[in-house]
């Protein structure tokens, strides 16, 4: 008899090797480099123990980068969830031109992030920007506002650009979830006298919960690595008020060529993402039981 157990490992081995090569090796290598002082200029590697970690954790810039990253993640993901759910509920209804609307609502997600960010950069511009023009026309303001030049407005602008860009993604996932809920449940709910809100909170939400959790997981992991939007929109400004972890990592690694310190930052980001994902997965597992 052919022993599948025995051979299955060897059949999977080549693909495991490839995965290890492109996923595991860089992560492990970054971990290793994070314990070294390594600057591409000198091309000499010196062991530094936990020195890089210590330097970064006492550095206010790292703390601020963490703060901005979490601020953007929490606010953009929660707004996206609410808007995405509303959009999904709307797109599920039957109306003329639904297919077209569904297709169009995906446009922001299909635009490359850098292009979208450039677009928003011009929308927020004080002289030629669309937003100023609108606010001006409806007489909310009488002098132009430079959205990207004050800390909180700039942070808000980043969040708006992020929400615009990725709400369709959440809506798409939730729409798929909505389509999977059997219509009979709503019919029997109606017969039992449940109103629209009761049907939503007792049927839709509980049955949609796994999909919501999964889309939150995807988006949170993604949002914690936010780079392009900030890089193009503000470059980390004004006065570094929007610099995120990945932007700081990029500057350290590629602009300052401090590979060791940059790896340490990358590892910190990696650990943060892993930790947050683990929490999500735990909740998912609980809710599945």
């Amino acid at each position: 008899m052919f022993n599948f157990r025995k051979y299955s490992f060897w059949f999977c081995f080549p693909s495991l090797l490839i995965i290890a090569g492109i996923a595991l090796y860089p992560v492990l290598h970054s971990f290793l480099l994070s314990f070294f002082k390594f600057n591409l200029h000198e091309n000499v590697i010196r062991f530094n123990g936990l020195g890089n970690y210590k330097d970064l954790l006492i550095d206010t810039r790292t703390r601020e980068a963490f703060y901005h990253t979490f601020l953007f993640t929490i606010s953009s993901v929660s707004i996206e969830l609410v808007l995405g759910l509303l959009l999904a509920l709307f797109l599920q209804r039957k109306f003329i031109g639904r297919g077209l609307t569904r297709a169009f609502s995906l446009v922001p997600w299909a635009v490359p992030t850098v292009v979208a960010a450039l677009l928003w950069r011009w929308i927020f511009n004080d002289r030629f920007g669309l937003l100023n023009e609108l606010l001006f026309r409806f007489e909310f303001i009488d002098t132009p506002v430079a959205f990207l030049s004050s800390s909180w407005l700039a942070r808000l602008s980043v969040i708006i650009a992020e929400v615009w860009k990725t709400t369709p993604f959440i809506a798409l996932l939730l729409l798929a979830g909505l389509e999977m809920i059997p219509q009979e449940l709503y019919e029997s709910g109606k017969i039992d006298g449940a109103n629209a809100w009761q049907r939503f909170s007792n049927i839709t939400l509980p049955l949609l919960k796994p999909v919501i959790l999964i889309s939150l997981l995807f988006r949170t992991m993604d949002a914690l690595r936010i780079f392009d939007t900030v890089y193009v929109l503000t470059g980390g400004g004004p006065g570094n008020a929007t610099e995120t972890l990945s932007l700081y990592t990029y500057k350290t690694m590629f602009s300052h060529l401090q590979i060791g310190l940059g790896s340490t930052l990358a590892v910190l980001t990696f650990l943060t993402v892993t930790f947050v994902s683990a929490i999500y997965l735990l909740i998912l597992k609980r809710s599945a039981n």
């Binding site: 000198e42 511009n125 002289r127 990207l148 400004g237 500057k251 590629f254 300052h256």
Partner: protein, 426 residues
């Protein structure tokens, strides 16, 4: 069996010879590789063709790099840190020679590029290509900050272009009140351009980032006056658009060429766009002047521009030098100026009658270029610039005082230099 083996063997040999002969078409010909940024005009390729026609025994492979300077540096560093001999000639930004030289990535050129020859070039770019008194690259084309002004508005008010910051503030304020446009636009987003702008104020007040002993000089009176002037232009006199703190080159250029500002600080590229009727409402109304100073004649421009350097790992440094020499020769610079719009680094070209007939504005450009200065020449420039970008922008966006910004910059740069000293002093 033996027979078949022999046949196989023979075939193998024939194949081997074939491969070898294919890869080495002409053994006397040397191929050098040139890494250079994208050129939309196509002039670069014509220059390479001219070089090939003159040098039959050299072949040139052109590797086109991304347009943005920072991504170009990313790929250069990857090659150089790995000691890769693939690229022989690098085109490098004026802020990289110190970094590349200190890392031992590019060849010192003093024996090939004599002091006498260096004298024929603009002084700023030459200084920018030097590190610790030795020269590491040849200036190829140049770039510097200059003042664009609305000739029509100044003529109506019977004013000469401003020579001091005070004059600029006065004239810009007058235009702003009278014509309901902005007085002055420049680049003050948190990015490299902000540092360029700040340095021009700093130098004009007689200040410096690093002194000759490599000590930061930002907590000095000139630095305070410089930052105060920049701050006042934005917040006290309010002669800028609200968004100047979010502007890079293009945003500021558009405000000016759409006729909404009286003065603009920008690089030479804005000249051509200002004369282009499809994008500019002020064609024919633009004048160029050197940047103002604290007092008359003290203005200084921040230098940009590109230079050619030879890789330390090149296997054909002789041929590479031949190529660099050719590309920076007077004839080629002249062609590149006319066909590619790149500004020459040799002084003589700005006196050339044909060139001045073709581009009369070169006369004004020259006045700017002779006073242009390179940014601090240190291998740690990118880190110093990063510190300045953050601290200066914090002061300009009212997140900290001018004194704190300069005090913090000075302290951070000092720490950085102390930590990194050993590594570069080996």
């Amino acid at each position: 069996m033996i027979c078949r083996n022999k046949l196989l063997n023979n075939m193998f040999f024939i194949l081997l010879i074939f491969i070898v002969s294919c890869s080495k078409k002409d053994p006397s010909k040397v191929t050098i590789t040139w890494a250079v940024g994208k050129d939309a005009t196509g002039a670069q390729n014509k220059l390479v063709d001219a070089f090939l026609a003159q040098n039959r025994n050299i072949n040139v492979r052109v590797i086109e790099m991304p347009g943005s300077a920072s991504s170009q540096r990313d790929s250069y560093v990857t090659y150089l840190a790995a000691k890769d001999p693939f690229i022989d000639v690098y085109s490098i930004d004026i802020i990289w020679p110190a970094e590349f030289a200190a890392s031992g990535w590019i060849l010192e050129l003093d024996k090939l590029f004599s002091a006498k020859e260096q004298d024929k070039f603009l002084p700023g770019p030459i200084e920018g290509c030097k590190y610790k008194g030795k020269i590491y690259a040849v200036p190829w084309f140049t770039d510097a900050g200059m003042l664009y002004y609305r000739k029509d508005l100044l003529e109506k008010a019977k004013l000469a272009p401003p020579e001091t910051w005070t004059e600029l503030i006065k004239q810009a304020g007058m235009c702003q009140r009278k014509y309901k446009i902005n007085g002055f636009v420049f680049q003050a987003q948190q990015y490299e351009g902000l540092v360029c702008n700040f340095l021009e104020y700093l130098w004009s007040y007689g200040g410096e980032v690093l002194d000759s002993n490599n000590k930061p000089q930002l907590n000095t009176p000139p630095a305070k006056q410089a930052l105060k002037t920049l701050y006042d232009i934005i917040h006290t006199y309010k002669i800028t658009p609200e968004g100047v703190l979010t502007y890079q080159e293009e945003e500021s250029r558009q405000v000016f060429t759409s006729g909404q500002a009286a003065f603009l600080r920008n690089w030479p590229y804005a000249w051509a766009l200002g004369q282009d009727e499809t994008v500019s409402k002020v064609t024919g109304l633009i004048g160029i002047a050197p940047l103002p100073g604290k007092t008359k004649g003290q203005g200084a421009s921040c230098l940009g521009g590109w230079n050619l350097a030879i890789s330390r790992f090149s296997k054909h440094p002789k041929e590479a030098w031949k190529f660099v020499e050719f590309m920076t020769s007077p004839e080629v610079q002249m062609i590149y100026a006319v066909k590619g719009g790149r500004l020459p680094t040799r002084k003589s070209i700005y006196q050339d009658k044909d060139i001045l007939d073709f581009a009369p504005h070169y006369r004004d450009f020259y006045k700017v270029f002779v006073n242009a200065r390179p940014r601090p020449r240190t291998p740690l420039y990118s880190q110093i610039s990063d510190i300045l970008q953050i601290e200066l922008h914090k002061a300009l966006t009212n997140q900290q005082s001018i004194d704190d910004a300069l005090e913090n910059s000075n302290r951070k740069i000092n720490t950085l230099l102390k930590i990194s000293q050993q590594s570069f002093e080996k």
